[in-house]
Amino acid sequence: MMIPRRPLSRRTFLRGALGGLGVALALPPLEAMLGPRAAGAQVPAFPPFFGLFYWANGTPWHARHGGEQAGAGYPDLWTPGTTGAGFAPSPLLEPLARHRPTVVTGLEPHTEVPPAPPGQEDGHMRGFMVAMTGDRIRPEGFDHPSHTLTALSPSLDQYLARHPGFYETPPRFRTLEVGVSRARFHDYGHWNAISYNGPDSSNLPIMEPSALFDRLFAVPPDTREADRRRRLLDAVLGDANTLRAQLGATDRGRLDAHLEHVRTLQRRIEVATPHCEVPGRPGDDGDLLQKTRTMGDLLALAVSCGLTRVFSVMLTSPATTHVFSNLGVPEDMHKICHDGRWEWVRDITRYQMECFAAFLDAFQAPQPDGTTLLDRGLVYGTSEYGEGWKHSVKELPVLMVGGAGGRLARGVHVREVDGNLCRAQLTALRALGLDDAQFGRNGAETADVLPGLLT
């Protein structure tokens, strides 16, 4: 089945831009008006995409995590034995070997930890937030016993998707967020999502492949219906304009965030739907690995046909309570970490890497021009801390899969003991074409990329 492309007339475009409330609407480039790939040499044939892939509870602990972990006597099954190119994959990275990941080891958060409120150094809070945002958690409102916390800064996916150097005009979906495991440590806040716009503003993941399919490939409204919807959104914005005046600063910010999304919907009506070969609607059955694979298949398609260039995947939620009964593990993962069940954590970590590899398979499939999506973009895999037994934030795992259009070396192991985790993030951002001088906040600022990765 194919979704017919609706050509976008200049008249339609101008009416949308100038009607309504004089809402700021960036002019779409010629490319968007002519349809993808029509603008010729002015734009790169394949602008890079970025994926953020998250798994919970780090890796199995070993001596390099320090403290009691060092005394526990377990081997390091994560870190490859040699650095540079051509390293032999470690036992836990074997499942990913077919995708030639670049592996970064030894990094840790360098953010300062405010003295109060207590508990901010915990891996679930500090490690997670630095891994996702390059910043610490927001101290105001943080509560360790109830694990109530919120981000200060946007997560990497949102940072990139709102960066003027990344999108000239966002495609149909600025970002997409998906998740796989439904187990949750808490029912609120960052335990439900890994993608943030900023404080108290999460992007909850889509949890079912069928729902992702529906969102991606819904038959777009015809011209008449599109006109009607646009007209309604004009009126919605008209209502909002009066209401804004009554609000204090905080709530005005919340309303403005809502209105920005309304304008995104309006814009989505304006831009042409890219041409996609639509597959069959997937079911939602299957184990964690199968669902992860299906999500990967759909997102790879979305990237290849220009529906989006940024996505995030929450395989398991932070501090996951997922029970990996398929591996013979009887209790939830967070508990077995704390109970010191190293062998189970090892098996689960390997399984999570199998899921990651399955997710990536469709990105590794050859495209019509002989390249693969992974050649063009970058999927950045990471977790919340180094290990889950004591929540050490040392040796926080980072994987970068893909060549980012030839700007990132593939299949390289870089080891930076006690290095600033934000260096990996800055490296990824630079590989994606951003010219940010530095990344990281609140003590984690860095202007140094990792050595030997950018080409």
């Binding site: 509560d143 029912d187 007209r231 009126a235 005046a245 600063a249 704390h338």
Partner: protein, 613 residues
């Protein structure tokens, strides 16, 4: 010194205020290092525990959220578990001021802007257009501070959420206009043109119900124009568009309150307008938008007097929606949502099933309905009542006779004096939620009593502690002894001496709530204490709680938060004390508590919002 803030005040971020509630308590039994508690950190069973459940009214004396000034030790607040310095005298539970010092005057807070919760959204549409409307997903609620209403007032909606509102609006509007019966509820005339008098009246009528106030003339003009511009020759099509559009408007999706100056009799403070009060009453007591009776009263400007509000509240409390809303409050207060995540080891708990968990939840709901609506009485009986409602599975779990009970039929029972069941703390839901998959957790059970039943703060365990309770070589055989061992560590003793003793009282109930006399061959020792008063078991605790002064105060405070969609502040203390007095005078009748709250200045008045240029 706390003083009434000059208005307009800058409203601190709500979460910031909440932080201070917590921060002030963290000094209390702050342990030093190196202990294991085995529960606070290591278990998913604490899912849904919440911030701000403390003894501590926000240490934010002027409502400005001054940040570091309220950090532990900086003088912003000094509450310790069980020893609220403003609360030594029994009876206020942190809600009011103490005798012997001048009471702090009530200081209103600026308004918050809650988004409709999912329940409020769906109920409102159902009230307008009838049941069984098609459902599409809408953004889930979040409850970082116990109640959905507070999450709805603090978080921003996502892009997907706005997309889902749009989709839901089109689906609902299409369903309403495809069905004559539904359509005629909103469109009571036959339009001849898409902008005629009929459409004008329709826009005004629909807008009044959805926006919960009369539309401004600008709004009327705007939506009549929408009808005209989208009708394409079919006025019904235009009318459908109006509905689909209004359902996406922030005026419907958010509760925007600005208040109005109150007459001089109220000391020049601000009060919510009659229309704002109509919405506040309706969303609080029915989880739905205001009905025509409320809006008519608001149009007449009546909903500013306590008596008028009481009359409306009592009317609403007689509706089925109110019964559901009260259930929603108790489900959030008692954390029943956590039951959904409970998994027990099937080998050890062969009777465990999703059906059993659902029955545990149902029995709590039936008891709540009994105590609030059907028979009424002292709501504190929730923690001590000898009566309950069981189905066949629960009757077997508790070992009680329940003639007529089946898997789906619940029957009322009176637990005999020689059975160990009295109140929800001795029933399946509490006992199961606050236990591990195999072992029980006196710590989690004690924490729930402290935080939820008594509104006391439990500080975090120290960082980097050994949280294992794995049995090591040479360890004593029982969980109690292992926990006692941890409590000998001075770093842990402070908090665990506070948390564990009430938790030990439940050791006769296993992780599924079954009675047991022995564990691993060792007889159960279920003795413990509550704040130094020795108790023999959970029944002793139930008896103590039935008259415990903190219980009523804690319920008052939680309802106040639920109703106002925010945590309480120091400025709310006088209002809380007043509500609690009325609650006590009624014999702790829950409906009387709701009425007292509705009459209170804490529900009727506000500080001016900070308005930007």
């Amino acid at each position: 010194m706390p003083e009434r803030s000059p208005t307009p005040v800058r409203r601190p971020p709500l979460v910031h205020r909440a932080a201070q509630v917590l921060l002030t308590a963290a000094v209390a039994c702050a342990p030093l290092a190196g202990c294991g508690d085995g529960a606070l950190e290591s278990s998913p069973a604490e899912l849904g525990s919440y911030a701000g459940g403390g003894t501590t009214p926000a240490s934010d004396p002027d409502g400005r959220g001054t940040g570091g000034g309220a950090f532990p030790g900086s003088g912003g607040g000094t509450d310790e578990p069980g020893e609220d310095p403003d609360d030594e005298t029994a009876g206020t539970g942190g809600a009011g001021s103490s005798p012997g010092r001048p009471p702090e005057p009530f200081a209103p807070s600026p308004p918050v802007m809650p988004r409709l919760t999912a329940a409020q959204y769906r109920n409102t549409l159902e009230d307008l257009f009838g049941p069984d409307l098609p459902r599409t997903p809408i953004e889930p609620d979040t409850n970082p501070y116990l109640f959905w209403s507070i999450g709805a007032a603090t978080t921003a909606v996502s892009e997907l959420g706005v997309e889902q509102y749009a989709e839901a609006a089109f689906v609902v509007a299409a369903a309403v206009f495809a069905d004559e019966a539904r359509r005629s509820r909103a469109l009571t005339c036959a339009p001849a043109a898409a902008d005629d008098a009929c459409i004008d009246a329709y826009v005004r009528g629909l807008g009044r119900r959805l926006y919960r106030r009369p539309l401004t003339e600008d709004e009327v003009t705007r939506w009549v124009a929408v009808s005209r511009d989208t009708a394409e020759g079919d006025p019904l099509r235009g009318a459908e568009s109006v509905l689909a559009g209004m359902l996406q408007s922030p005026a419907f999706l958010y509760r925007i309150e600005a208040g109005e100056p109150a007459p001089e009799a109220d000391g020049g403070s601000r009060r919510y307008t009659s229309h704002e009060m109509a919405a506040r009453l309706a969303f609080f007591l029915t989880e739905a938008g205001p009905d025509d009776v409320l809006l008519d009263a608001a149009d007449r400007g009546e909903l500013v007097s306590p008596d008028a509000l009481e009359a409306q509240a009592r009317r609403l409390l007689s509706t089925p929606r109110a019964r559901a809303a009260v259930q929603a409050f108790f489900a959030q207060y008692l954390d029943l949502g956590r039951l959904e995540h409970i998994e027990l080891d099937p080998a050890l708990f062969p009777g465990f099933s999703r059906g059993l968990v659902r029955a545990m939840e149902t029995e709590v709901r039936l008891l709540v309905d009994d105590l609030v609506f059907r028979r009424g009485g002292d709501i504190r009986g929730l923690f001590s009542a000898r009566r309950g409602y069981v189905n066949a599975d629960l009757a077997e779990l508790y070992g009680v006779d329940a003639p007529g009970a089946t898997a789906s039929a619940f029957v009322p029972v009176t637990f005999p004096e020689d059975t160990p069941r009295a109140g929800v703390l001795t029933l399946g839901a509490f006992l199961t939620m606050n236990a591990h998959r195999i072992e029980t957790s006196p710590t989690l059970r004690g924490k729930y009593i402290r935080e939820r039943v008594l509104c006391q703060d439990v500080p975090p365990p120290p960082a980097n502690v050994n949280l294992d309770l794995e049995r090591a070589e040479g360890d004593p055989p029982t969980l109690r002894e292992r926990l006692e061992q941890h409590r000998e560590n001075p770093a842990c003793a402070g908090c665990h001496a506070f948390i564990d003793p009430p938790g030990f009282l439940f050791e006769n109930y296993d992780s599924m709530g079954r009675w047991r006399d022995a564990v691993d061959g060792y007889p159960v020792d279920a003795t413990g204490d509550l704040d130094g008063v020795p108790l023999n078991d959970a029944l002793d605790l139930a008896k103590a709680l039935s008259t415990h002064p903190r219980v009523g105060a804690c319920i008052t405070r939680q309802v106040y938060r639920f109703a106002n969609s925010r945590l309480d502040t120091r400025g709310d203390r006088a209002a809380l004390a007043g509500i609690e007095s009325a609650f006590a005078a009624s014999g702790y009748d829950f409906q009387s508590l709701l009425v007292a709250l509705v009459r209170s200045e804490g529900f009727r008045t506000l500080a001016a919002p900070e308005v930007l240029p």
